[in-house]
Symmetry: C2
Subunit: 126 residues, 2 copies
DNA sequence: AATATAACGCAACCTTGTTGCATTAACAAA
DNA sequence: TTTGTTAATGCAACAAGGTTGCGTTATATT
């Protein structure tokens, strides 16, 4: 498990996530880069970058898969489980930096939490 | 907007949600009832029951749409935004009764929150 | 430069969910 | 209880996001 070859697709996709500090959906990436790279390639590179702990993914509104850069994750563990914010006006999604304290639930083991907050972002908020 | 006719499909689907106190995915309902009712019908009835404030929906793992009974919702407002718990062992999903306090986010307006917690449920937890 | 094989492109496919339209059935009124 | 209106249904075809198999290309190693 590892990105072993620095291909064009890997390079271009990584640049996307480095220049934009927001999350990007696979769909948007395909719309944007689909002429340059096959969608299969894009999906596979995203998968691999996630495996390697470089990107993390989550589900946005309507079940679309979004990706964003990781902070301090390794290929063995994704440890930046944080909320995501999706603007209902402009559609933009980004990562929030705080963590939400959850109450202990008796007899259950929490492994993953996915918190998606929807509303109006800074730019769309009047 | 309202369920104006008590049809077989409405009756059977409502019974599903009344006898099981857990959430059920549209997919599971189609697998279970697809011989009796057309999947289109099932999707439409679920839609309508949600419009009427009888069911609420949310996205589970893998972007599947899940439905569960509402508590005190009306056709104009779904006000039971609560976390959902999905067991990674048995796949079962249910509604949690607590609410999670979110920190205020400056310059943003929170409208909806979707919190999906994944882990081991009471039965699968050792 | 030769070579092994990861990565790619393409086409075909899968799944969840939606739409248009003709037919059926729920329910109110006669 | 028959009739008439129209909501609800079934069917087929479609839509969109994503996946798979396989032959070809290109990266990195020797």
């Amino acid at each position: 498990m590892g990105v072993i070859r620095k291909t064009k697709a890997v390079e271009v996709l990584l640049k996307e996530f480095n220049t934009n500090s927001v999350a990007i959906s696979a769909k948007a990436l395909i719309e944007q880069l689909g002429d340059t790279f096959n969608k299969t390639t894009i999906y596979r590179v995203l998968d691999k970058l996630e495996d390697d702990g470089i990107l993390h993914s989550f589900l946005g509104k309507e079940g679309l898969k979004w990706y964003a850069k990781c902070n301090g994750c390794t290929s063995t563990e994704h440890n930046d489980v944080h909320p995501h914010f999706q603007c209902l006006s402009c559609g933009r999604v980004d990562c929030l930096t705080f963590t939400v304290p959850l109450p202990k639930i008796p007899n259950r083991k929490i492994e993953v939490t996915q918190l998606l907050i929807q509303g109006k972002c800074e730019e769309c908020f009047v």
